[in-house]
Symmetry: C2
Subunit: 559 residues, 2 copies
Amino acid sequence: MFRNKLGCYIFRVCNWIYTHKQVKYTKPSILMPQNQWNKKCHHITGYPHISLLAAGFGFITYSLCDMKYVVYADDSQDTRDEDKKANLFDNNLPTYSTSEVSKHSNYKERIWVTYKNGVYDVTDFIHEHPGGDQILMAAGGAVDPFWMLYSVHLNPHVLNILEKYRIGNLDPKENNDNTSDMSDPYSNEPKRHVILKPACVKPFNAESPEQLLVENFITPNELFYVRNHLPVPDIDSTTYSLEIEIEGKSKTLTLTLDELKKFPKYSVTATVMCAGNRRSEMTKIKPVKGLNWGAAAVGNATWSGASLREVLKKAGLNEKDLDKYKHVQFEAFDTDATGSAYGASIPIWKAVDRRGDVILAYEMNGVPLPRDHGFPVRVIVPGVVGARNVKWLGKIIVSSEESQSHWQQNDYKGFSPSTDWDTVDYSKSPSIQELPVTSAICQPIPNSTVTVENGQITVRGYAWSGGGQDIVRVDVTSDGGKTWHVANFEHRDPQNAPQHWSWTLWTCKLPVSKEDKKVEIWAKAVDSSYNTQPESFENIWNLRGVLNNAYHRITVNLE
Amino acid sequence: MFRNKLGCYIFRVCNWIYTHKQVKYTKPSILMPQNQWNKKCHHITGYPHISLLAAGFGFITYSLCDMKYVVYADDSQDTRDEDKKANLFDNNLPTYSTSEVSKHSNYKERIWVTYKNGVYDVTDFIHEHPGGDQILMAAGGAVDPFWMLYSVHLNPHVLNILEKYRIGNLDPKENNDNTSDMSDPYSNEPKRHVILKPACVKPFNAESPEQLLVENFITPNELFYVRNHLPVPDIDSTTYSLEIEIEGKSKTLTLTLDELKKFPKYSVTATVMCAGNRRSEMTKIKPVKGLNWGAAAVGNATWSGASLREVLKKAGLNEKDLDKYKHVQFEAFDTDATGSAYGASIPIWKAVDRRGDVILAYEMNGVPLPRDHGFPVRVIVPGVVGARNVKWLGKIIVSSEESQSHWQQNDYKGFSPSTDWDTVDYSKSPSIQELPVTSAICQPIPNSTVTVENGQITVRGYAWSGGGQDIVRVDVTSDGGKTWHVANFEHRDPQNAPQHWSWTLWTCKLPVSKEDKKVEIWAKAVDSSYNTQPESFENIWNLRGVLNNAYHRITVNLE
């Protein structure tokens, strides 16, 4: 999706250099000394550590001021020429399907990857790869989304190296983005990148490795977590229509996709998070029912579409109706075996609030919504749990009642740690809407070995709070809370609360003693209401394993 | 203040009966069996344990359904006749000043109290008092505010008993509500009830005993915590004026109190809390700078006045100005020795939001604002820390900047536990606006001895969250979190988030084993964003001792 001009440009210029290794890897010609680029910098008020580099091509690069160099987007003719090679079909080489490629994901079978239309055997290159064995994350799949994250690859030198390892072409028929087995309700699922680790295959639910999340403020579509409750519907956008009903009014508004696109187009960059994100940590306390999510059931994207507020107005909703109706329900096109559709609702104040920024999105990061993310239309309810950001939207109902769907009434609710399956009464808890403040450590990964440099290790992660709350501080400790270190913000949305919809990416140079061999790292975030995370999972445990926002704690080995 | 007709009626009908002792104490004639009053009840949807009793006089009584009786307001002619006696000056008895009365607050000096204009020596009555030595809370002061809480007293029988103990009259000159020593800036402070425990006398800062807080959903004005930063200004309401300036516009709007009262009058019931509430618990971890508040630097009142939104509109603020200005500043009439006034600001979105409910209040619980609470006008910013609810309001400035006052810039901000007075940089933290979710146990009080009944003790408290968030659950434990018990809500505001401004009063029958002798009780609340309290003060400690919202933990003895 980022292969279109706009997307490509965005990702090719978002670079941070963290290690000397990486700096060495980039060609000197594409480095720019800080004293030069700093002159072009515009300091964002209040966040002096983040500078905004307007590179003169209509795109921007964020970089940390305390770093020596910024990698410049190499958008030269050389790069574009080399890049084209990967797109070409090489008649002298065999053709492989993605399924064949996927078998080659270990040393025994050799390590194959794809880039655009090329298939490459990179087994013999791995030991030379300046990024080390990170390349193995793409083993058996496409390197394309990783190169969006690590755009240092997009220069003629790297592209030239890659072509040397070419062994074949990707089957052109693979451009059909769907699977083809028609024997079950999941016969027509979209293809997914191999990097997505499924927590469940049918319905498909998967997240990417958490260490990738913090590589970019915007999560590439291919790496964005997928949370499906049912099979993915296959919707023809030319015949698609969205129905809008206001209870008690005889007329219903029906909009085709083209008609929806005639409304003014708004873009909102918002984090979407699953209520079960980080459930695997809660499960360690006591089993819960739910998908075993790690910390990556979350992503941040720029969503574009029509304003729900404006569409509801067009459908006939007046100011004076707002006292009568309490909820806006969403019905989806994905259905279960009995024909029941997925559904959810949000309070009407959120739907019609000028500052609510709720949109009927038809684009994700500049391209049409991928099928897994709701093609052709989903609702984006910024600051609100993923479950209410209904995908494959078919109908909107303005109502005095909440959605009566299973997922609104008997799921996605919080309970006391002492409530069990014998005592639970779903009618007693409100449906989750805004999510509480949370944070997670994404780098290093748990139980990995980290090199201590100058008595410090670098810890990176994300923090976010629902309801449009900003993140005001992230504290990190390596000594069980005796001393806390305030993290620096790598990237944050400049919007203020209560319209701060994006996550904050943070980094912390954490002092450690190499002699410790092992260290436990904790992180906690504070939001603009000065709400903070609870310390442990014991006291927020709940039978469905939702709202897992206790301190994130990981152990790593030091060397 | 509750002696006017409206206030009196409100409090005289808000009754709960918790013990058989109290039930026996009330005359049978004023009891009504549950099977009778239940028929008049209207169950509030979703909260079946709270019933609303419309008593037919235009007022309402909330009661718990699982209680056997509700005390009925006894508004009979008999009561009113007896009540008048306390108002009469008895020429056969001597006259005492409040200062003389206040000396009689222990058994050695004998226990005196006042009620209306009467002075009473109740020393010999204490052992007969059905409420036990709770009466000592009024020793040396007025019983009036307590009788607003425990309106069971307002019947001819009780009033008649009291008159038997009359020993004198309160000096009529005492009606001048001010102190009279003109030798210091605090020479002209209002009189306060002796029950207010001062954390500091000059400026006056005091809270009432926390066990009183939960006796009523509305805190009587006399028991409402006082947080003054400077001497209380003495403002003549007939010459008072409020200035409203919009930066960059040449015209300033000036309103007298009468002119302000010509705007539509709105009432909002909102909890106001000091950022330092519960600081005494944080101090136990490590000293902090600040007043040593207990858990009662909070209260809930009905505030009435003009809408700030409407006043700003009248002053010339347009929709299109909202992008230009970011803050609304408030300047007060209280000044320090250099003439600097107290000041604060709030974000403009809150000031102009239809759902923000910000008012320029001139009434508190149905009477003009008491001097300690901002007479004649203060701003009430529901859901936002007390410090921004500026009292003695003199000027409003719509600005592109925050207030530059000390209290906005260099106070009332949160920091990491490892930030100390050498490293603190106030410019790095945002000013506190919305407060985080919190709760406190008000009954029993710490280290008291509690009688176990049927293997249970009753625990009562409040819970509240800033930003208009509702309280969705309070969990209580007596075994260190192994089992959590969900509290019942005694009283909550029917308004939904994000306009839920009042606290929630809760009660929990907590199973305990009498053999334990001693038990530690913890409480924690969850709000409608499913934010919850942090477990301990260690990890939220901050050098100013604000935002003290860790679990409330108290130890009590069992018998």
